[in-house]
Symmetry: C2
């Protein structure tokens, strides 16, 4: 492989943390492809939660301990929106809103979401690039006992309480990879599926028509691929991935995740607490890489990134 | 006259202050018709400066000493918009932005501007109603030595510095009065042209096709009409009305304003400092009402409102 660029696929918090560690090692050589199936329109503004979480993490301004927003942000706009009768359960901070306002104006003026995201990344001085998986509208819907829910209704408003009985990605059939994503995959020396929810974060990215064949083509020409388990000791560190795996018929363990990715990657990275699963992971034809995958600070993010990159032969 | 409702025409600050005094006397009997030719799209959001200034004044939350915004508002969004390369010279506060966000969403979803404005007024608990003069887009352009400028470029960005050599209200030919404005005028016992800029605030309202004939029809059926001069001692208390009158060939005095309104009103109200102009005002066929027209606080606003209403026989 002549190229030394790396692509990581990410949803929200877990994928963003690994991306931060990767950016610290790779700088401009890193491209993050983010899920857009969580994107939504709130108060008439286009919000891209996964892109924005990765953006704020890579800019070092993410709200610590939460999966969204900017550290120290204020909430004057949202309070006033409530006065005008707007629902306020999807809390957007003031500085965060500036991004949604700018992006909505740009997209309404004819820009692709990708272009407006890249502009925001330049404004915040990012080294890495973050690419939406597609510029087409895709929307995850969640089947619960009460019927189909819009994703943020399930995720934020109902706090992931209902059991998930089914998923669909509306619009996915008509979606296409962006030219930027295609080029990044075609040039990648390594591709890493980040520790995000495999069903509603990585799942939609893999479901974009052309994505699986692009991954396959990359492997054919020698790109190495890895996935990092978001499940540690049978639990998701954040979010409903464990319960969602279970209610949708998958094993809520790192092994269950490994099974989902077995035909896509060479290396499967999972936590040392799950070291006993190594033989079963290997039996899937995967190289098992046991590591400390809990990312509590910048150092642990960079350490995990370094471990994965080393395993993939990227220096 | 059976009706006891009153309509006042208003632009920004001066008209808003009189409207506040009128609301204190009349409550729900007051309708304010506001200029919309200053409306603009900023950061993709529909901003209606004159409506919003009147709204915040009538809600008692206006930024004291300035012609726009909410008292004590913060500016977190605007600072962040600057980070994304958006121009920041048109300063919009955080709580103020919530109105523009809500309105833009409503209008994009199909509401008329009038409907979204009325909803905001209900949310803020107003007694009076504020009606945009039209729901059609109208945009004031200002001719300067450097050519035609968009109104806010002249008014805010260039701080009203250039001499105004011409005015046009783009879109005015296609504009129509709203049903709400037509009904308010048809039912008014009195109509008061507020102390706003006669050329760029009251002027566009009068220029909406149907407005002059509606005023005329109201007078024919017995409605009494008055205008309050925004020029006091040859100066505008706020804004460029005096210089604009002068550069556009009008006398920059209360008498110059009286001449502009002579065929529209019965009573002309002007400041006691200009009492010597009374004979000239009367010579135009107008009833001259000399009063203290400087509105420095709630009491002086209500006192002027009471003086005008008494002169018009409204109790």
């Amino acid at each position: 492989m002549a190229g030394t660029s790396v692509v990581t696929l990410a949803g929200g918090v877990g994928g963003a943390k690994l991306a931060e560690g990767l950016q610290a090692r790779l700088g401009v050589r890193l491209t993050v492809v983010v899920n857009t199936a969580d994107d939504c329109v709130r108060h008439g503004l286009l919000v891209m939660p996964d892109h924005d979480t990765v953006l704020y993490n890579l800019a070092g301004i993410e709200q610590v301990g939460l999966g969204w927003g900017i550290e120290g942000d204020t909430h004057a706009v949202m309070a006033q929106l409530g006065t005008y009768g707007e629902p306020t359960w999807f809390g957007l901070g003031d500085r965060d809103l500036a991004l949604h306002i700018t992006r909505t104006a740009a997209v309404r003026a004819g820009a692709r979401p990708t272009e407006s995201c890249l502009a925001a990344q330049r404004s915040l001085g990012l080294a890495a690039r973050i690419l939406p998986m597609t510029d087409a509208p895709v929307a995850t819907a969640v089947l619960t006992a009460d019927g189909w829910l819009e994703f943020q209704e399930y995720f934020v408003h109902q706090r992931q309480t209902p059991d998930v009985l089914g998923l669909r990605f509306e619009g996915i059939e008509a979606a296409t990879l962006t030219p930027e994503v295609e080029a990044a995959l075609a040039n990648a020396a390594a591709i890493i599926l980040g520790p995000s929810n495999p069903l509603v974060s990585i799942g939609p990215i893999l479901a974009v028509p052309g994505m699986r064949s692009a991954l396959s083509a990359a492997r054919s020409r020698g790109a190495v691929t890895a996935a990092v388990s978001p499940i540690i000791g049978g639990r998701a560190l954040k979010g409903p991935a464990d319960r969602m795996l279970s209610s949708l018929g998958h094993e809520p363990t790192a092994l269950g995740v490994a099974r989902l990715y077995a035909d896509l990657v060479d290396v499967f990275v999972f936590d040392s607490i799950d070291a006993a699963l190594a033989p079963a992971v290997q039996a899937l034809g995967l190289r098992a890489l046991v590591a400390d995958t809990v990312m509590t600070d910048d150092r642990s993010r960079e350490r995990l990134a370094a471990t994965v990159l080393t395993a993939l032969g990227i220096s």
